[in-house]
Symmetry: C2
Amino acid sequence: MKRDSTPTIKDVARESGLSLATVSKVINGLPVGKKSRDRVEAAIDKLGYHVNAYARALKSNKTYCIALVMPSLKHPFFAHLVDELIACLTGEGYNSILMITNYDPMTEQNCFSLVKSNKADGVIALTYSPDLEVDESIPIVTIDRHLGKKIPCVSSDNFRGGEIAAEKLIDLGCKNLLFLRISAEIPGEPNRRCAGFESVCRSRGVPYEKLLLLDKESDDPIYRFLEDRIHDGNLDFDGIFCNSDILAVRVKRFLEAHGVDIPDQVQIIGFDGIFNPFTGGCVCSTIVQPLAQMAQAAVTLLMNPFDTTEGMNVMLPVKYIPGGTTKD
Amino acid sequence: MKRDSTPTIKDVARESGLSLATVSKVINGLPVGKKSRDRVEAAIDKLGYHVNAYARALKSNKTYCIALVMPSLKHPFFAHLVDELIACLTGEGYNSILMITNYDPMTEQNCFSLVKSNKADGVIALTYSPDLEVDESIPIVTIDRHLGKKIPCVSSDNFRGGEIAAEKLIDLGCKNLLFLRISAEIPGEPNRRCAGFESVCRSRGVPYEKLLLLDKESDDPIYRFLEDRIHDGNLDFDGIFCNSDILAVRVKRFLEAHGVDIPDQVQIIGFDGIFNPFTGGCVCSTIVQPLAQMAQAAVTLLMNPFDTTEGMNVMLPVKYIPGGTTKD
C-alpha cells in the first residue's frame, strides 16, 4: 500500500514559527504560554497534522492496543464476547487487535508474541491448547482457562450454573437426569458445570447419567447414545442438561425428529445464553453467562493488575432463563 | 499496565560482540556473513529479543495493521464477515484492529483517523452513515457502500440476487409476490436487491407489491401490514422475498403463528446465507453472499490499489440455496 506524505511535527514547527520543543510540549499537554499554544494549534489545524501513534508509543512504550485471542467468530458466544470486550476497551481508550485462532495451538501460542514485539500492551485470551507456554511477565487475562499461576482468569460461576440446572430440572418434576458434553477434554472452568450438576443430583437423591465426548468435531456419538435409549417413543431420561445451548438445540431437534416431545416428555436446559437474532431472546431454556460483566472484569483486571503470587479467579454470577425447552 | 524492561537491539549487539549496524542487517534480512549471522541469532535467542514493531513501523512507515470497521458482532452476517477478513489479513501477514461502531455516525467517522495517526495502514469499512467525510488519499476499501469516487467497493451481486429470488419464486409456482425490507434508507449496493426482483416480476408479468421500512429498530409495521393482508387464514401473497435472512425467519414465524403454512401456502426467500450454528446449514431458503470471496477481494484491493480515477465496484456472484421455506 502507498501512503501519502503526511505532515510531521517539524512541519508544524515551521508553520507556527516556533521551536520543535514548544510544539512537542503542546502536543504532549505540557504547560506552554497561551499565545504559543494558539499558534501551534492553528498550525496543526492548517496542516492537518496527526500525532504519530507509533512515535508516541515508542517514547511511552505503550501502544494503547490490546490483543484479543478468540477461537472463532462463527460461534455466537465468542462473537458476542468480542463485541462486549471491544466496547469496554474502547471506553478505556484502547484499540483491539483481534486474533482468530481457529482452535490451532500454534496460532494460539504465537498470539502472545504480539506483546513481546510491542504491537499490544496486553492480551485477553480464550484458548484451547492445554500446554501453551506463556510469559507471566506480560499482562494477560484469560477467559475460562488457567494459563499460569499469576495469570488471572475470568469466568462465569460454572459450578453454580450446573447446580441451578439440576435444581431446576428436579423442581420441574424430572426423575431421571442426563448430562451431555462435547469437547470435554479441554481443561478449564467449564468443567465445573458437570460437578455442580452431579452435586445436586446426589444430594437430592435423583439418579443421573453423564456422557462426555472428547471429540469436538461431531455430535454423532451423542445421537447414537440417545437413539439406543429411546424405547417405544420414550427416552430413558426426562431431563437433560447440555454443556452448551448449541448442543441443547441439536439434541432437542434430534429427539423431536424421533417422536419425543420437548418439553412434555423431556425437558432440556442448555448453557451460555446465546442471543437468538430472530426473537431477541434465548434459543432454549438456559443458564446465562453474563458476557458484559465478564468483559468488564477482564478489561479491569488487565488495566489494574493486582500483585498476587497466586492466580486470581474472578467468577461472575449466572442466572436461569426459561426458553421453551422446559415446562416453566 | 506495567511492562518489564525488554532487551533492545543494543543488548543484542553487546551480547554478540558485533556492531549495531550488523545486528540491524540481520534483523532486517539484509546480506551478512554466515558467521556474524549465527552470532547475532544466538544472541537474539539467548536474550529473548523481539523486534520492536513500533520502532520498525516508525522507520518503514508501515504498521502491518488494518482497521476493520463493522457495526456489530451480534449480527451473524457481520461476525462471519470479520472472521473471513481476519483469516485473509493474517494470511498476508497483517493484524486487524477491529472497530465496532454500533451504527453510530461519529464512531464511524473517527475510525478513519486511525490511519492518519499511524495506527493502521488501511481501512476495510462497512458503515451506515450516509455522509461520512473520508480522505481519499488513505487506503480504504468498503463493503456494500460508496464513500468516495476513488474508494473501491466490494459487494455481492445484489441485483442478480434479487433476480434469482424472483425467478425462483415464480418457477416454484408463486403468482402474487411481495418484497419486504427494513433499514431501507441506507444508500448502497443492497438497494439493488429490490431492483433485480422488480425487473424479473415485470418482465415475467407477475404482480408484486413492496414494503420498504426506513426504521431499522422495529419490524412492527411489517407485521401490521401482513396482518391486514391475511383473510380467512390466507395471505394475499404466495411468495415473499425478504431483504435479509433474519427478516425472512421473523416473517415465517409471524405467519405460522397466524395459521399460514410455510412453504405450502406462502414461500419465503431471504438474503445473506447466514450460518445456522444448530444445523450447519442455512436458516431459510436464501440468496447466499460469498463472504470468503468478498473478504479476499477486499483484502486484495487494499494491498494492491489500482490507479483508477473512478471508483471500482467489485461484485461477486451469489447463489440460491433452498432451506425449508420454499417448496424445493
